[in-house]
């Protein structure tokens, strides 16, 4: 047997929301894939100079679409994992709107196993709420949980029926797994491509008001109250959705919510810049500035406790269709970390410690992961960030197969320079390690 290897990350600013630590004086030791207090005697020590860098515990993006199985020309578990590593992300929760829909224990296991085989990012599969996400019959939530589903969602589609949502939320309490709903009243959004605002009216694009989202958010919040169930609101973007969330908080309902980075950085004026390029087409759509400001405020107040990318890669040919025909979605895994810094930390809206909670303790709580951050004995999942590096988003440099993003060409602040999962580097200086590292410890 070879000598024991130890890694020492020295000189960085350790920001650990799990332990509420923001310190320049903490060295991080990694021994045998875990965070350690000190190396065993005689260990071979590799020292990483982290001066000027931030050291963060595993960053979680709890809303991604890896399109696998079924739509592997858009993304695969492998390319999605590489995109995650490149973006500084150590764990993702994958949405079940695959083809077929991830609504059986076998498919949940397959996604999990495939993720482990690729070995670049921890994958927490989300199972469907209803069979085929058709909204008509509850999926076998108990067995999905047994197979490893960390949450349930029909994302891409709302759980339209109130009766079905009630049943799912009732189950969530029993199973201790959250229901994530994509809130959208489809009778109000039918045919719409964009938010009903100035850009829609100028460009002549079919549009829907943000009320379409808020109406269902209110319904879901009331049902969470009725059932005592566990609700997570995917990608909230409407002002009235935040009011509903505030109501839920006042009544101590078990409701959490996430915001997507594109809603933090852009408003619907982006459509006037991009015109009919469907990179701006996303659901929920880019909202007016007043909604964006309300969302930023809700993050600052702690009302919204997660930032998640809603990483939705599409093929260029699909995104090149006429705007109204092109699919919804933005490829977001490789910009989320920088977007969070640029939107929240750099302008001083939130402290680094509070902001990083949105991608650590926030999603950890929603998914029920119970990790302890960079505490001794925990798996060595961490990200090193250069917090001041300015860079211009160039989708051609993405590892994701999806190059669709309206952040293209934008200057962002801060970039991941290294990602570690289970004590192994999955990315260093922008270079992603080859897939097939074998099992993550």
């Amino acid at each position: 047997m070879s000598d024991m290897q130890a890694i020492l990350i020295r000189g960085g600013r350790v920001i650990d929301p799990y332990r509420q630590i923001d310190s320049h004086d903490e060295d991080v030791w990694v021994v045998e894939g875990r965070v350690a207090k000190a190396p065993p005697t005689g260990a071979d020590v590799m020292e990483v100079d982290a001066r000027g860098l931030w050291v963060l515990p595993r960053l979680i993006d709890m809303h991604v679409h890896f399109r696998d199985p079924g739509q592997t020309w858009k993304e695969t578990i492998e390319t999605g994992s590489r995109a995650a590593a490149h973006g500084g992300i150590g764990a993702v929760a994958t949405m079940p709107n695959t083809v077929p829909v991830t609504d059986t224990p076998e498919l949940v296991e397959w996604v999990k196993n495939r993720g482990e085989a690729v070995g670049l990012v921890r994958i927490f599969p989300i199972g469907a709420v209803t069979v085929g996400s058709q909204g008509e019959e509850l999926a076998d939530l108990f067995r999905l949980k047994q197979a490893g589903a960390r949450a349930f969602s029909d994302d891409g589609l709302p759980v339209a029926s109130s009766r079905m949502m009630r049943a799912a939320l009732t189950y969530s309490r029993d199973l201790e797994r959250v229901i994530i709903n994509h809130a959208e009243d489809r009778s109000l959004t039918d045919g719409a491509s964009v938010h009903e605002g100035l850009a829609a009216h100028r460009l002549g694009l079919p549009a829907a008001p943000e009320t379409a989202e808020a109406m269902m958010v209110w319904r879901d919040v009331l049902l969470a109250g009725l059932t005592g169930g566990w609700l997570h609101l995917a990608h909230v973007s409407a002002r009235e959705s935040l009011e509903a969330l505030s109501y839920a908080r006042q009544h101590q309902y078990r409701v959490t919510a996430e915001a997507a980075p594109h809603h933090l950085l852009l408003n619907d004026e982006a459509l006037l810049r991009w015109q009919y390029d469907s990179v701006t087409k996303v659901n929920p759509p880019l909202r007016p500035e007043s909604s964006r400001q309300a969302l930023l405020k809700a993050l600052k107040q702690g009302l919204v406790n997660v930032v998640a990318s809603d990483h939705a890669p599409h093929h260029l040919d699909e995104k090149a269709l006429p705007y109204v025909q092109a699919p919804f979605g933005i490829s977001g895994l490789e910009t989320i970390l920088s977007a969070l810094i640029t939107a929240l930390i750099e302008p001083g809206l939130m402290t680094a410690l509070d902001a990083w909670a949105l991608m650590t303790t926030g999603p950890d709580q929603v998914l029920g992961l119970h990790s302890q951050g960079l505490a001794e004995g925990e798996p060595a999942d961490l990200t090193l960030i250069n917090p001041t590096r300015k860079w211009q988003v160039d989708p051609a440099a993405f590892y994701s197969l999806g190059h669709n993003t309206p952040l293209a060409g934008m200057k962002l602040t801060g970039q991941a320079v290294a990602t570690m999962v289970g004590g192994r580097w999955t990315m260093r200086e922008g270079e992603v390690a080859y897939a097939g590292l074998s099992e993550i410890s």
């Binding site: 605002g197 100035l198 009216h201 002549g204 694009l205 009919y276 390029d277 006429p322 109204v324």
Partner: protein, 316 residues
Amino acid sequence: MPSAWRKKESAINNLLGLEGVDRLFLESLLEEAAGMKRDIVGKSRKKSTALKGRAFVNLFFEPSTRTRTSFELAGKYLGADVVNVQGKGSSVEKGETVYDTALNIQAMQVDGLVVRHPASGVPAQLQAYLDIPVINGGDGFHEHPTQGLLDLFTVWEARQSLRDCHLVIVGDILHSRVARSDLWGFLAMGAHVTLVAPAIWLPTEIRETGLEMTSNLDNVLAAADVVQVLRIQKERRSMRGMPSVEEYRARWGITEERAQRLKQDALILHPGPQNRGVEIDSAVMAQKASKIWDQVENGVAVRMAVLRQLMGGSHE
């Protein structure tokens, strides 16, 4: 940004919409259209060699009578060769994308493309792929710039000036590409515009100097110099929010009774095709104030001017 989407740097002019075009450009088109009408369209033998040796294609993904025919005639009066391609019966039905169709047509060395498509923005998107001028023949709810130009021309011809002219557009404004082109064109020429529609069809987010919106037609009739009556577009989701044809006619239809309340010299326009007895009465169409047939004739002259400006540059 995917390379296909990078805006090409090019000196070629397109006509994608009237939003943002300047007054001088509009005036030059109107002057040229007047010349076309006087010297060619109005003559018994319509002969010009301005576009001799030039060829362009009308690529239409939606039905059209006036626009397609007048583009075709406009091209022929100027000596160009014109080919019509329709979505139906073309390779589009075999699954070809609109971009590939357009690229194939360009590869046949044509000098321009007129595009009509039911989706807003398609001409603008195509323009990024092509090296030849693209003329928007109407896209979704967005714009119909040559319709806007022929409306401008018709009013300009009748009144000699557009400055301070008060245009009232009545109909489904929200889903109307004609309304948008008229709006930007008339505002650019110094006119005032009032949009009149059932409240759910008003694009309330657009705010411009000289622009007003209301649902009450009767309040604005007496102050109108021009009334543009839009067709009720039943095929375009626009019936949503509209209770009945009878109510529409009662509140927003240009009936004989309403036409009588207009100024003596007010003009009535309609881009066609008309739903007689709904948005406009037959008796009103027959009145002297109605310029519907002038619009159609002027459509040819205006399109000649556009074609000449975009494709009439020096050869070789």
